[in-house]
């Protein structure tokens, strides 16, 4: 007859306990390694971007050769001058730096510095949200121009010859000034007769660049395009497609930044899916400078409850084709060089 209570000796007891612990441990481990969808808590309606956040390594043609922190908080724009010095707008300052990131000069503005450009003669044009200020090469203020209007939100400057072009995101227009600050023209206003589509600017990232071919390049973020204009404002063409895929521009408004390589190809910077890519002058996707996985903090700027307009990347290019990327979230500047 089987006894009602079976007593274990010490050795048996420890054996049973260790077996039980091992089984529990194994099952816990298995539960942890099981896919989330099997746990019963995964969101069946999840907005899944994981595939788009990974870049095919074969497409990445650049490598990082330098990185430094912005000397001031909240960088907005970066530009490279004719002498290959770096001009960074951050906080209320324009910081002029060497290619290695050493500060050469700091220029204080009365308000947040939004954009900057430098001329061949050393003149520096910098803009706050609503007006442009002019400095000489040593940072002495030479002029303060009148605000172009109540809704102005200046987000990019470009200079060449006797012209200074200012991208006004608030009024969705490119303003053409001469170097004395006289307004010479307004470019890009919607005009069906001149076949000008008009800028769509859901967030303040309109940018203008003067290219070596003598045309202006302007991003049209709401249309996900880069457009070409003559200096007089004639529309010459556009390229770009709306897509979250690697060869397109995603979200409400991209690209938010453009820069020309010495050979005429164009570098673009994006937000939402923060990535930097290279397109041919005709707009064919060529390669990736830096993918989304390189900017994890920036990618989170839009996915959590923060303001999505805080995220994004600005780009600039020097005479040797190196790409400078500003990460608005981490306040870092990265220097990227094409892989040999």
């Amino acid at each position: 007859m089987r006894p009602e209570f079976e007593l274990y000796d010490r050795r048996e007891f420890f054996g049973v306990v260790s077996k039980t612990a091992a089984i529990l441990g194994l099952s816990t481990g298995a539960a942890k390694t099981a896919p989330a969808s099997d746990s019963g808590t995964a969101n069946p309606f999840a907005y899944d971007l994981r595939r788009l956040e990974k870049t095919d390594p074969a497409l990445v043609a650049y490598q990082e050769v330098g990185r430094w922190r912005s000397p001031r908080k909240e960088p907005k724009r970066i530009a490279v001058g004719p002498d290959d010095r770096i001009y960074l707008c951050a906080g209320n300052y324009v910081t002029v730096m060497s290619r290695e990131g050493q500060t050469v000069l700091e220029i204080a503005l009365p308000d947040t510095a939004y954009c900057v450009t430098a001329a061949k003669d050393g003149a520096i044009f910098a803009a706050t949200r609503d007006h442009i200020e002019v400095f000489n090469a040593t940072g002495q203020r030479r002029a303060t121009w009148d605000s172009p209007g109540r809704k102005s939100w200046l987000t990019s400057l470009a200079t060449g010859g006797n012209d200074v072009f200012a991208a006004d995101s608030g009024n969705r227009i490119i303003l053409r000034y001469d170097r004395s600050g006289r307004l010479m023209g307004r470019l890009g206003e919607k005009n069906a007769e001149r076949n000008i589509p008009g800028f769509i600017v859901p967030s303040p990232y309109l940018q203008v660049e003067i290219h070596r071919d003598g045309l202006l390049r302007v991003n049209n973020p709401g249309r996900h395009e880069v457009e070409a204009y003559t200096l007089d404002g004639d529309f010459e063409g556009a390229w770009g497609k709306a897509s979250a895929a690697i060869d397109g521009f995603c979200g409400c408004c991209n690209p938010i930044a453009i820069a020309a390589l010495p050979d005429g190809r164009i570098v673009t910077g994006e937000k939402g899916l923060p990535r930097v890519k290279v397109y041919s002058a005709a707009g064919e996707f060529e390669s990736v400078v830096a993918g989304v996985e390189g900017f994890p903090e920036n990618a989170k700027a839009c996915s959590d409850l923060n303001d999505c307009t805080r995220g994004g990347l600005d780009v600039a290019v020097d005479s040797q084709g190196r790409v400078y990327i500003v990460d608005f979230v981490t306040a870092e500047v990265r220097v990227m060089k094409r892989k040999s």
Binding site: N43, P44, F45, A46, Y47, D48, L49, R51, L52, P197, I200, P202, G222, R223, H224, A242, S243, A244, A245, C250, G251, C252, C253, G272, C302, S303, L305, N306, D307, C308
Partner: protein
Amino acid sequence: MVTKPQIETPVSRRQFLRNGARLAALTGLGALAGVMSNRARADGWVWQIDPAKCLHCGNCASNCVLEQSAVKCVHAFAVCGYCQLCTGFFAPDPNQLTTGAENQLCPTAALQRTYVEDPYYQYTIDENLCIGCARCVEGCNRFGNGSLFLQIRHDRCVHCNECAIARTCPGDAFRRVPARQPYLLKTTAR
């Protein structure tokens, strides 16, 4: 015998004014009583989602006691960018920017797209189809202005004392609001 027809005497100015004042006073009293009565009836609390705290987790679609959730997507038109590539409407990598089912993000096609003018489109929600899954809300918040957001629709909500969704909300976004102001609407972009 012929009786002389009685002619009604016209109301004097004083009587007219007196009657008018009485009528106005009665109307005012009635309106006041109505307002007070309404306020007394609505004097209570209802559940609502704070859009600033919502994590778009999908729980609202599956945890409501109703077969089809009382939580619906709503749209702040003043905040919307009327984008051609609406990331609340389109799947992350659509084949084309058309209303084809394979391009849409919404699992029930509740978000509807109407052309306004180049390049703008208006987006509206068919509440009969919306299940409150927040997939469009996540898409809109991820890349856009965040004009799509979730709210409990009180014409559907059965006002449980303990809201089944609130119990599991990971963002603690559910809170009690006065019944006379039952919605927490967005008026500006995030």
